[in-house]
């Protein structure tokens, strides 16, 4: 079986430590740093090695979508866990691949799964949450509401 893989697409190098822009004068960079830190992507070398170990007869390509219709399986190598920024690529691959081609994912956590419609929906939902920080925003509202209550409770109980 010939396996064709979409090659590693990796725009930012991984960072170690809490290398996050601290100044609110650069909110866009701060936001990007936070999203990148939490996604914890692996390097392209790590992804290539992971792929080669799992699919020794596979063929690694870097974004050459032309050869997709020669493949029995296309494995997307997400450097992070859920393929942030891979939505457009997935749509193009699904359009170009033959109906019988299996489209699957191998992510930076070493997890392998088939990209079914249900999984794709699940990933899109999670990407939305991760990039928009909706959960964090809602948590902030709860934080603002609850903090005075907790502080008052502690004051009454003389826990300072």
């Amino acid at each position: 079986m010939i396996k064709s893989i979409i090659g590693i697409w990796f725009t930012d190098p991984p960072t170690f430590g809490l290398d996050i822009q601290k100044s609110i004068k650069h909110p866009v960079q701060m936001y990007k740093d936070v999203v990148r830190y939490k996604s914890n992507p692996r390097s392209s070398e790590t992804m290539k090695k992971m792929f080669t170990e799992r699919f020794p007869t596979g063929n690694l390509v870097c974004f050459d979508l032309k050869i997709i219709n020669q493949a029995d399986e296309v494995v997307l190598l997400y450097p992070d866990a859920i393929g942030l920024n891979w939505g457009e690529t997935e749509r193009r691959i699904k359009k170009q691949a033959l109906p019988n081609t299996l489209i699957s994912c191998l992510n930076g956590r070493g997890r392998y799964f088939v990209l079914t419609r249900r999984t794709q929906f699940s990933l899109r939902f999670r990407r939305l949450l991760e990039k928009t920080l909706i959960t964090e925003f809602l948590s902030s509202i709860a934080f603002v509401i609850l903090t005075p209550i907790l502080l008052s409770y502690d004051l009454i109980r003389r826990r300072t």
């Binding site: 170690f16 830190y37 956590r109 964090e136 934080f143 907790l150 502080l151």
Partner: protein, 303 residues
């Protein structure tokens, strides 16, 4: 000071004896250096030689900085009564790079520090030699301590026993070697904490779908210490209720304090731009309920 430091593989080659289990092996290869990541010797981008005076200085500064609320006029003065134990026998289970053991030695305690990790033992010995401190440092499994019953005046363990697959056995041993009515202190990770809920269960478990591949113990281990790489073999944080039940067998006056010294870093991720500017008094009510560490202390039962 040179800018070179040994790669991780050389650090384990220096160990006196091979590690005997996966937990010890992992910590030997990834010692807790309080650096930019596990096992590294880079502090805010500056690389230092492993085991050098500068290494100990940088490590200690980071470790002490992380735990600022616990200090008084001395480091950890709010939880350790150094004066009371001058000349007395103190046992640390899981000494790591020897920061706390050295504080006890400097305060005049007769300190014994043990660790399963051979790199930790060797590094602590080197620290003691470098700073002319005296103490007994041994490579020992906390489940089989080579000390007689009722030997120590004070026993403690900081952030270690939740990495033991048999926590209860380790605790039983710890209490065995403590004198009747001896004080004890154990820090364990807290499962009902913001850090665990947000970083492990929400971000990795739910958002990154790791809960489809890992059970709760595997998830806590994978995304506990060493989470930026591949995690560690075993981490199981406990709850206050579990701590009470576990310790009640050994002590009837157990006190559990929740420590939230990690919240600064967590709020920086949760509320970028705002989180790092929250005043301490705003974070405190959350830290004391949902902090990442439980400090469990009390007296060993007399019977």
């Amino acid at each position: 000071m040179t800018s070179e430091s040994p790669p991780k593989s050389q650090i384990t080659e220096k160990a006196a004896a091979p590690a005997t289990n996966p937990v010890a092996e992992w910590w030997a290869e990834n010692p807790m250096t309080y650096a930019d990541d596990h096992g590294l010797v880079t502090y805010e981008g500056v690389q230092v030689p492993f085991g050098s005076i500068e290494f100990f200085d940088r490590l200690d500064r980071t470790f002490l900085d992380w735990n600022k609320p616990l200090h008084s006029d001395v480091p950890f003065g709010k939880i350790f009564d150094y004066r009371r134990y001058q000349g007395k026998k103190v046992l640390e289970i899981g000494c790591g790079m020897g920061t706390m053991a050295s504080l006890w030695a400097k305060s005049g305690a007769d300190v014994t520090a043990v660790d399963l990790n051979p790199v930790a033992v060797e590094t602590t010995k080197k620290r003691f030699d470098s700073f002319n401190l005296t103490g007994t440092i041994l490579r020992v499994d906390g489940k089989t301590l080579p000390f007689p019953d009722g030997h120590f005046d004070y026993v403690y363990s900081w952030g270690v026993l939740h990495h033991s697959p048999d926590l209860e056995k380790s605790l039983t041993e710890m209490f065995r070697v403590a004198k009747p009515n001896a004080d004890f202190g154990v820090m364990l990770y807290h499962r009902k904490s913001f850090l665990h809920w947000y970083m492990t269960e929400y971000i990795e478990g739910f958002l990154h779908r790791e809960n489809k591949f890992l059970n709760p113990l595997e998830l806590a281990s994978r995304y506990g210490d060493g989470h930026r790489e591949e995690g560690n073999p075993h981490t199981w944080p406990i709850t206050r209720k579990e701590a009470t039940e576990m310790f009640y067998e050994h002590s009837q006056d157990v006190r559990i304090d929740t420590l939230g010294t990690e919240l600064d870093g967590l709020f920086k991720l949760m509320l970028p731009g705002v989180g790092m500017r929250l005043p301490h008094w705003v974070k405190k009510p959350w830290a004391r309920r949902f902090g990442w560490s439980l400090w469990i202390s009390g007296h060993k039962a007399t019977v």
